[in-house]
């Protein structure tokens, strides 16, 4: 490990959880491509660019985790709306469990040292005149 690697690691983690973040957003409502991409960019601070969300959405569709419908739009051409598929709901629930477990374990390690399983050596006996 090298100092400064943490930023790289966080970026990797962010990329790893990105699909599940998209699924989580679809839990609340249906989104069409453009607004979903903009919302992700606002919340997540993706580094590599909004354009990379579209291939991600296409892959989620191919995996059957999301479903899409085309809806007419007053503003222009029809829009593709995304919603969570049953398989996507399951995947999201599984991920949420795993994520919470991992998050809790890491938080615990970071906030306080783990309990020491070995007994500490006895402190040196106090001589006469020393205050305890």
């Amino acid at each position: 490990m090298v100092a400064g690697e943490a930023g790289n690691l966080v970026a990797q983690i962010r990329r790893g959880v990105l699909p599940y973040c998209v699924l989580a957003m679809l839990r609340e409502k249906e989104w069409y491509g453009f607004e979903l991409v903009r919302a992700m960019a606002d919340i997540d601070g993706m580094v590599t660019g909004e354009g990379t969300v579209y291939p991600l959405l296409a892959r989620l569709r191919r995996q059957g985790l999301v479903e899409t419908t085309w809806q007419e739009s007053a503003a222009g051409p029809p829009r593709r709306y995304y919603r969570l598929a049953p398989a996507g709901q399951e995947a999201l629930a599984d991920f949420a469990d795993s994520w919470r477990q991992l998050r809790d374990s890491v938080d615990e390690l970071l906030s306080s040292p783990p309990e020491d399983p070995l007994p500490k050596p006895a402190p040196p006996a106090k001589g006469p005149g020393e205050q305890s």
């Binding site: 990329r15 990105l18 590599t48 660019g49 909004e50 354009g51 892959r59 051409p77």
Partner: protein
């Protein structure tokens, strides 16, 4: 209001995206290009409508990101699992260059095999050329064994050089397929040397006849293969690929 500069920016961006996406399967490629095109149109409309946040086309395109990275995300087999440094897919121009270089290796190998197979023909042609030359200039002929050892030594040398050439073609092909700069530069330098060698030309040994013509045709074909491969390697899509592969 239609701003022609903005339209040009968008057209250029989509052109780069299409070029980078040439490595994707056709259905994914057209879908991606459609979606990005629709995104840009939506962003411009939304920007035109919102006076507080007018979306400038350069900003829209910058937020979208480099087409090479978008295509890399599309080719990524591990959803979200790969780091962003996952290599971008190989564009058609580089794939073609690699295929050409393997072809060049094959033709060079055939040349070596043919040279060895026809050595007796070459030998007698050289012998008669020598005799003619000796008669004209009055220089003494080498003895039979001197000629033989000289000829076979030359043949061995030429064959070894030929095989090294085959190896170099393959070496550069593999490096280029992996987007290595050294491969592209080495390939171009070798092509330059080959061109130089052709211009200077081999010494005229006075060998005539169909075998010499066939050899010249092979040499010309190999040179043309090299030229086409080098041209493919230095196209802009290829350069983008080599640049993307450069960063760790």
């Amino acid at each position: 209001m239609i701003d022609h500069d903005d339209d040009q920016l968008v057209a250029d961006y989509l052109r780069r995206l299409t070029a980078a996406a040439s490595a994707l399967p056709a259905d994914r490629r057209s879908e991606l290009i459609e979606e990005i095109t629709a995104h840009i149109a939506e962003a411009r409309t939304a920007g035109a409508a919102d006076r507080d946040d007018p979306a400038r086309v350069p900003d829209i395109l910058e937020r979208l990101g480099d087409p090479a990275y978008i295509v890399a995300a599309a080719a990524d087999p591990f959803p979200g699992g790969q780091p962003a440094s996952a290599p971008p897919p190989v564009p058609a121009s580089v794939r073609n260059a690699v295929r050409l270089m393997y072809l060049g290796a094959a033709v060079s190998l055939i040349t070596v095999i043919v040279d060895l197979a026809t050595e007796s023909i070459t030998k007698s042609a050289m012998l008669s050329a020598l005799k003619t030359g000796a008669r004209q200039s009055g220089i003494a002929l080498p003895t039979g064994s001197q000629f033989n050892s000289g000829f076979y030594a030359t043949l061995a040398l030429v064959s070894v050089l030929g095989l090294i050439g085959v190896g170099l073609w393959i070496f550069v092909a593999r490096g280029s397929g992996n987007g290595r700069d050294w491969a592209r530069v080495t390939g171009s330098v070798l092509f330059g040397l080959d061109t130089l060698a052709l211009l200077i030309g081999p010494p005229d040994l006075g060998i005539r006849g169909p075998e010499a013509t066939v050899t010249r045709i092979f040499v010309g074909v190999v040179w043309l293969i090299g030229l086409t491969a080098v041209m493919c390697l230095w196209r802009s899509d290829s350069s983008a690929f080599f640049k993307a592969r450069r960063s760790p």
